[in-house]
C-alpha cells in the first residue's frame, strides 16, 4: 500500500466558500477539509479480473448463498404464534362482521334453515315409524310365541290328567267289585283285611 500523503494549507475556512478560482476547493472538490488523501480505487480486483468464459466472482458469491428452508419443508412442528395455528385469516376479505339486514338475504337463510329442519323432522318421523313397525312385529311374534307355549302347556296338562284317569288304584276307587258282594252273600259286610295286634 502506498503511504498517504498529507498536505496542510493556510486558512482552510476561507478556501471552502471563497469562490476564488485558484483556491483549493475549486481544485479538489467539496470533501477537502485540509487533509488530502491519495485516491484509491475501492475495488480494483473486480475491474481487473474479467476474463471471458469464466463466471464473475460476484455471481459466484451470490450463488453460494445458502438456501433457507421453511419449517414446513423440514417437517418441524408449528410453534404457537400470536394467532393460533390453524386459524388462517382470509386475505382480501372485509374486516369485521357482515350484517344481515335486508329481506332477501334473510329469506335465503330462512329457506335454507327451514329446509334443513324439515328434513331432520322428516327423517326422525320415518325412523320413528320404522321403529314402531319393528316393535309391532316383535310384539306380535312374542304374542304368538306366548300363545303357542300356553297351548303346549295346556296340552301337557290335559295329557297328565288323562294319564291319571287311566291309572286307578283298586283301594281308592269308588267302584266296588261285584264279586265280593257275591262271595259274601246276603251279608253285605265288606271283607276285612287281616290285622295283627299286640296286646
Amino acid at each position: 500500500m502506498a503511504p498517504s500523503r498529507t498536505k496542510t494549507i493556510k486558512n482552510k475556512h476561507a478556501a471552502n466558500g471563497s469562490g476564488i478560482r485558484g483556491s483549493i476547493k475549486s481544485k479538489n472538490g467539496p470533501q477537502s477539509d485540509g487533509v488530502l488523501k491519495s485516491k484509491k480505487n475501492p475495488n480494483p480486483r473486480v475491474q481487473t479480473t474479467n476474463v471471458k468464459g469464466r463466471p464473475k466472482i460476484a455471481e459466484l458469491l451470490k450463488k453460494k448463498k445458502q438456501r433457507v428452508y421453511s419449517a414446513k419443508e423440514l417437517g418441524i412442528q408449528d410453534l404457537n404464534m400470536v394467532t393460533p395455528i390453524g386459524v388462517v385469516k382470509p386475505k382480501g376479505k372485509k374486516k369485521g362482521k357482515v350484517f344481515v339486514d335486508d329481506r332477501e338475504s334473510m329469506t335465503t337463510i330462512l329457506a335454507i334453515v327451514e329446509a334443513q329442519k324439515n328434513g331432520q323432522i322428516e327423517s326422525k318421523m320415518i325412523k320413528a315409524r320404522q321403529m314402531e313397525e319393528i316393535r309391532e312385529a316383535r310384539r306380535l311374534e312374542a304374542e304368538a310365541k306366548d300363545a303357542e307355549r300356553k297351548e303346549k302347556f295346556d296340552e301337557t296338562k290335559d295329557s297328565m290328567r288323562n294319564k291319571r284317569k287311566r291309572y286307578v288304584k283298586p283301594e281308592e276307587s269308588d267302584h266296588v267289585d261285584v264279586k265280593d258282594f257275591v262271595a259274601s252273600g246276603t251279608n253285605a259286610v265288606m271283607a276285612k283285611k287281616k290285622r295283627v295286634s299286640f296286646a
Binding site: V100, D101, V113, K127, A128
Partner: protein, 183 residues
C-alpha cells in the same frame, strides 16, 4: 344495538324453526310498508319493527334496556336460548302442541315437566326431542318444552312418565323477574 350477522341469524332461525312451522310470516312485510327485523343488544335478540329500531338508534347501547319482543339470548359459545318472552310468537305458528289438563297447569307453571297423566291431548305424529308449545285446555299458551318421546311411544307410557321436558313457562315472569330483561 346492531343487526345480526349471518351466523347469528342462522342460529336464531334454527331454534325458532324447531318450534314454529311458518317462519316466513315472521319477516313478511306489513300492510303499512314496515317490516319486523332482528336486533342484538347486550347478547339479547329482539324482534322489533324496523321503524322502531331506527328510532331506538338515538338511545345509547347502555341506556337501552329493551325494545320490541325479546326472543332470547345468544350465549358466548354461539348458541341461542329462547326466553319465555318469545312465547306469543312461538304459540302463533306452533309446529307441535300439547294441551295440559287443569290439574297439570299449576305444576307446569311452577317449573315441572309435563307428565302423561296431565296431558289432555297432543299433536299427532310428533317425533321425540322436538319443540312443543304447551297450552291449557282453554288454548292459552303456558310455555314451551321438548318432547321426551314420540306420540306413539308416549301412548304406551305409564301415567307418571314424563312426556315433555320444560324449557320455559309463564311462571318465569315471577321467578326470574330480576334477570329476565337485564343481567
Amino acid at each position: 344495538m346492531r343487526p345480526l350477522t349471518e351466523e347469528e341469524t342462522k342460529v336464531v332461525f334454527d331454534k325458532l324453526a324447531s318450534y314454529t312451522s311458518d317462519l316466513k310470516s315472521l319477516i313478511a312485510p306489513l300492510d303499512d310498508g314496515d317490516r319486523f327485523v332482528f336486533r342484538l343488544n347486550h347478547a339479547r335478540v329482539y324482534y322489533v319493527r324496523l321503524s322502531i329500531a331506527n328510532i331506538a338508534t338515538s338511545v345509547s347501547r347502555d341506556a337501552l334496556l329493551s325494545l320490541g319482543t325479546c326472543l332470547g339470548k345468544l350465549t358466548k359459545t354461539g348458541k341461542f336460548r329462547l326466553h319465555i318472552t318469545a312465547l306469543p310468537i312461538l304459540a302463533e305458528h306452533a309446529r307441535y302442541k300439547i294441551w295440559v289438563k287443569e290439574n297439570g297447569a299449576q305444576p307446569f307453571l311452577y317449573g315441572s315437566n309435563v307428565v302423561k297423566a296431565h296431558v289432555g291431548r297432543w299433536s299427532e305424529d310428533c317425533p321425540e326431542h322436538s319443540g312443543v308449545v304447551v297450552f291449557n285446555m282453554a288454548d292459552i299458551p303456558l310455555g314451551f318444552g321438548v318432547t321426551s318421546r314420540s306420540s306413539a311411544e308416549a301412548r304406551r307410557l305409564d301415567p307418571t312418565g314424563i312426556v315433555c321436558f320444560r324449557q320455559a313457562d309463564c311462571g318465569e315472569y315471577l321467578r326470574d323477574e330480576d334477570t329476565l330483561f337485564a343481567g
